[in-house]
Amino acid sequence: MQQPNRLSPFYENLAFEREDDRMIINFGPNHPSAHGLLNLILEMSGEEIVKAYPNVGFLHRGMEKMAENMIYNEFLPTTDRMDYVAASANNYGFALAVEKLVGLEVPRRAKVIRMLLLELNRLASHLFWLATHALDIGAMSVFLYAFREREYILDLIEDYCGARLTHSSVRIGGVPLDVTPEWRKATAQFMAHLPKEIEMYEGLLDTNRIWRMRLENVGRLDPDMAQSWGCSGIMLRGSNIKWDIRKEEPYELYDEVDFDIPTSDMCDSYGRYKLYMEEMRQSIRIINQVLDKYEGTEPELMAHAPQYVSAPKEQIMTQNYSLMQHFVLVTQGMRAPVGDIYVGTESPKGELGYYIYSDGEAYPYRLKIRAPSFFHTGLLQDWLPGSYLADVVTMIGSSNTVFGEVDR
């Protein structure tokens, strides 16, 4: 047994040298295909993985601790930094959990804008996934095309809230800004254009020999293992389990729009790739329907609940009591009722849940963030053994993990 200290550090390959059959490979923490800081310690027998040990925590910022020391509105921008590929989805999950705890009813126009943002984020996240996954496998051109379309989506989001990466575009009780007719027109135009691009990606990849050889029958995920590991999102639907929170426990206006939940019974990386493509089409379908719902909504953007949500700016500037209430809400923070709640939402990566325990103070007593990528990374230790080293990249990419979310 090694006794590591400062002068003689720990060497993983000592066991290999002694027994001469197993090799330990340190995959990461700075491996370009690990999609973040993942140190994957692999025990190999030849090319085959015998044991995998994902080592995480390199990006741990203690968000749950920070939440206990912040008022609810103050914490919202922090959630951007979890899944930074689709920041609005994180903002939204938190806002929804607080709204449910407090019992706020969000105005319809805010719901419409939130759904537009959520689905745009889903598209951006899926395009990002496709780009990086294809790049990992070796398809350079797909990366360029997918990033081009992602740029358009980021432009739309930038037009809305001014940020491209850390949006903070949702508020507790509604949304901060309205969308302009030009913005809606631009979104509709882009939605008309995007299906052609998706077809092009599929044209590049679907029958590509290398792509199929690297993805088909690679990373087969048994439905039982997927459920046992708490997989969600496409990891679950890719294992032929039809479960989408948007459909089963609808929030916002998801019960008013028509969309399908694609599943795949192939249980492999190729099936999951097809699901990502199909989900993008469904997102476009949702956005097109939601854009039509905007017309005829009342112009309110924030819930009317003076105890918890500040009045609109115009009212704060003209009404004395609104200003006083706003002052109290900003300096002291709102006091959510005593109780605890768990709310899960379907983020692009899977089930993003917030467990909030409020003891009636202005700060949450406990906030637990259930990040989908956390369990998808844990899954690697059961999922990787038996496959080959070259497939590790495919499998990490296929699970679509983001390490801002794993470490929080």
């Binding site: 479960w243 605890d340 849940g353 700060y363 899954l379």
Partner: protein, 273 residues
């Protein structure tokens, strides 16, 4: 003058002002009325004592004894709750002398969720549910990492997000936001060794902290000095262009610039000078 008393059992941020007459309402707890969830709770009640079951907003919650938590989860798994979505703990050491552990379960076929809660005292361990749900492997490791709650019969109970030799458990209410004394010295000790503590000094862990006299890590805008030199009060004007300028671009001298009066947002300034 006396310093204001700060309770040591909870060092988290407190509201600086609370209305004397403020009574924060409770989220109403309603009895479970949904037939499917009731059937599931009844199935659990056959094997273990369900101390309380209620519905808060739309979350179904049951409370069981910590000794029977694993049994309850086993019974729920037989009812179709095959996914352990999340589990963790809430620190009640200051008020109740223990932790509240919760398990959030999901039944995909019936589209139902249930939360199982139990209470454990400080220094009391809880039985691992890793054999039922693999996701508990990492969830219990995180719980141990953050609260120091030990899960018995866990195959590999080890810190997950923090380094193995970290001192204390950060999500306890007794742990300060910016870390304790041990956290201040952690990296210094690890990288340079304890004997360098005097040379390097403790790590400044407050991200918002700015040292006025530190010219190594921060530039004073408008008062820039060389790396590590003493800070100065003299103005050091910045010109954003090299000497001689670049091709086609005239050198911009900030002191000679003027704002055009016909800029719309500048019109109200007209005639004031």
């Amino acid at each position: 003058m006396f310093r204001r008393y700060q309770p040591k059992d909870n060092v988290q941020k407190k509201a600086y002002y609370t209305d004397r007459f403020l009574v924060v309402p409770e989220v109403p707890k309603n009895p479970v009325e949904d037939a499917v969830s009731l059937a599931h709770i009844d199935a659990v009640a056959k094997g273990v004592t369900v101390q309380e079951s209620y519905m808060q907003r739309d979350n179904v919650v049951i409370i069981v004894d910590s000794k029977e938590a694993k049994k309850a989860l086993e019974l729920l798994k037989a009812e179709g709750y095959k996914v352990l979505t999340e589990m963790s703990a809430v620190d009640w050491l200051a008020k109740k002398g223990g932790f509240e552990v919760f398990y959030q379960l999901l039944n995909i076929t019936a589209a139902k969720r249930i939360r199982v809660k139990c209470f454990i005292k400080e220094n009391e361990a809880i039985e691992s549910v890793e054999s039922l749900f693999r996701s508990a492997d990492w969830a219990e490791r995180e719980m141990y990492d953050m609260f120091g709650i030990i899960a018995n019969n866990h195959p590999h109970l080890k810190r997950i997000l923090l380094p193995d030799d970290w001192h204390d458990y950060p999500l306890r209410k007794t742990y300060p936001l910016h870390g304790d004394e041990a956290a201040n010295w952690y990296e210094v000790d690890l990288i340079y060794g304890k004997e360098y503590r005097d040379v390097i000094g403790p790590e400044q862990r407050d991200a918002a902290f700015v040292d006025e006299n530190d010219t190594k890590n921060f530039a004073r805008i408008g008062h820039e000095v060389g790396y590590g030199e003493q800070p100065t009060r003299d103005l050091t004007p910045i010109q954003y262009q090299e000497e001689g300028g670049t091709i086609l671009v005239k050198k911009m001298k900030p002191e000679e610039t003027k704002i055009r009066a016909d800029r719309s947002w500048n019109k109200h300034l007209e005639g004031k000078e």
